[in-house]
Symmetry: C2
Subunit: 427 residues, 2 copies
Amino acid sequence: MKITAMHVTPIALGDPPLLNAAGMHAPWVLRTVVELVADNGVTGLAEVPGSATTNARLEAARAVVLGRDPFDWHGLRAALRARFGTESQAARGDKPWDQRALVQVESALDVACLDLVGRHVGVPVATLLGGIVRERVPYSAYLFYKHEGAGGDFGFGTDPRATGWAAARQAAALDPEGIVAQARAMVAEFGFESIKLKGGVFEPAQEVAAMKALHRAFPGMPLRLDPNALWQVDTAIRWGRELEGVLEYLEDPARGQEGMAAVRRAVKLPLATNMCTTSFEDLPGSARTGSEDIILTDHHYWGGLRASMELAAHCRVFGRGVSMHSNNHAGISFAAMTHLGAAMPNLTYALDTHYPWQWEEVIAGGRIRIDGGSVALPPGPGLGVELDRAALARAHENFKRCGLRERNDEVEMRKKVPGWTFAQTRW
Amino acid sequence: MKITAMHVTPIALGDPPLLNAAGMHAPWVLRTVVELVADNGVTGLAEVPGSATTNARLEAARAVVLGRDPFDWHGLRAALRARFGTESQAARGDKPWDQRALVQVESALDVACLDLVGRHVGVPVATLLGGIVRERVPYSAYLFYKHEGAGGDFGFGTDPRATGWAAARQAAALDPEGIVAQARAMVAEFGFESIKLKGGVFEPAQEVAAMKALHRAFPGMPLRLDPNALWQVDTAIRWGRELEGVLEYLEDPARGQEGMAAVRRAVKLPLATNMCTTSFEDLPGSARTGSEDIILTDHHYWGGLRASMELAAHCRVFGRGVSMHSNNHAGISFAAMTHLGAAMPNLTYALDTHYPWQWEEVIAGGRIRIDGGSVALPPGPGLGVELDRAALARAHENFKRCGLRERNDEVEMRKKVPGWTFAQTRW
């Protein structure tokens, strides 16, 4: 089997004005869809965060990819590294999301090759990762402080006819009451059995109050707060102690492995990270410092599904829990995340997903269903999803029209709060 | 695809009276051949060290294995652990070889399932492990102190008609000159480009003299010495320093991770191990103490080929080199080791193999060729080897006739040196 074509399609999907440590989501989220076509007519899909840099890398990778056997991941990966080198951890950047382009190229090709091989062989991607451990994969509710608005074609407007979660998705949530209302609507719609709040937006006192309000509103529900490393170590210790007995885990309260380790020694609460331990190069430091209890994998940033399985093995050996980080994504990535979750023996926590915040799709059959807080492994070989060509074309048109080429939450935030600037540490 | 039959066949192959830290090899080496047959008629093979305990475990595992899908490794492994539990590291024992039975059961089933899946899909096992990185896998010459004799049907006798390596294989080698002569014959026959001596037999001065003699006889040739942890830390430091500039690496000079780390701090020579870091449970201690530079995997003792790939990923992340340990084995294991070596991107050293010491085979086509010190990946899907039913039957008859049921080099040594006893530390 040889790869004979590689299609790279940038898309934009509507996204509400969600607040986070780096500013505010634009009304559009950018993603890039990658298709590999083999000489037997079989196609493999993948999806990665959209950025002009990543897209240029993917276009440049085509010459390396064409003619290769999708079974030969080691060979393809070595050829990519020979062509592009590797990236230092510094390329990650200081934002809550990872800005490395090459690791995302590797991720896209890993996923698309697995989809291709799975379809060719007739087995699910989770089987290629070692076997299906669970048929349904649990996800967590993912709450955001937000301004009123739905994003996408609606701009910053709202649809007054909306009800239930569709209404709550448009509503503002800027205080503990708003967050609890958002949680009630999201849990009612999707049945989530754990809840995460994206923090790093307001001063710690307000975010801790929101978590306590959620704790009262949802007794016994596992709760998580993610201030995205915007707290100083002493701030994190002070407010972390306030949250003992309230949270399931506290995610990235402080910046860097040393900072995290200092918080972890002082606070009796599991710490999770997708900021201080985000690549294989970080694992020796994690082992040495004891920076976290739980590592949030993200196959887009760890180099693919196979690399994420390697990370899971490391976590098993070094006594770390495993969960999953999420940026906005569409159904291809949701399927890939679900296959990974289905194959990971030591998945110890419900995974993050932004999926409820979007309403569009590019896969056939429309939106993937979240029921009882979990997602069923898509049926059929490979990832189990197909492209809806008309929907993909619309999303690509949106990409061309929207004008965005890189995610920049700071620029977007300034439209709401003139002069706002990102700070690595804020409180 | 479902597994419908599992055959467990103990075999005995002739083995010369090789000396090592635990005593002397019996004239027979025990191995066990495992065959899985699927409902589509496809068969998968594996081979593990022979022992009555392991054979009993394999027989008991059959009820867990039958009816399972060979693609579903996670499911089969979980079922095995649910049935048998797991084994503590203490079960390894203090001998140079690993005495755990369950990990060998997992290894056998991992390899046989991969062979089955590879044959079903039509790809080599190395491809299932991520892709073929090298078509030929380098092995090292493996020298032993030994008494005269060939083993097996020859008992302790020799064949006076033998020439070349066949003659050297029968000859005694009990001093530096004998070791150099053995090395010359083995290198001439197989073209090895690195040489290991199994030490822990004579006092360090004699074994160090043998390494220096090899260094003079083979200038520039990478050399290794393995005293199998029989040296005290201060002995290892003293003689390790003597070997700086002589060896490529020193294998297990002292016992335990702390002992190895102490030697490693004092001696400017890479240290390798298959004794202090031999399971995933040992990896945090390895990272903490810095006990070795190179970990010698052995798929029989790390739980299979997939587990060995996980170990290789760990070695990449934690800056450890990777090589491979070997006990006596036949062609099925040799093929499995070669597929693993072909798929491991960070294989940094030629692998160990006892293969030149045997002369029998149970695979079709007879002995696997070692040329230029390396072995070509067997062609065809799966492991690329088939059973020779007549040869297997002969080897099984030998097993029944020879009377051995567990490896015990101490008992064998006492036939030569009455009252000899194994010691954990000797010098």
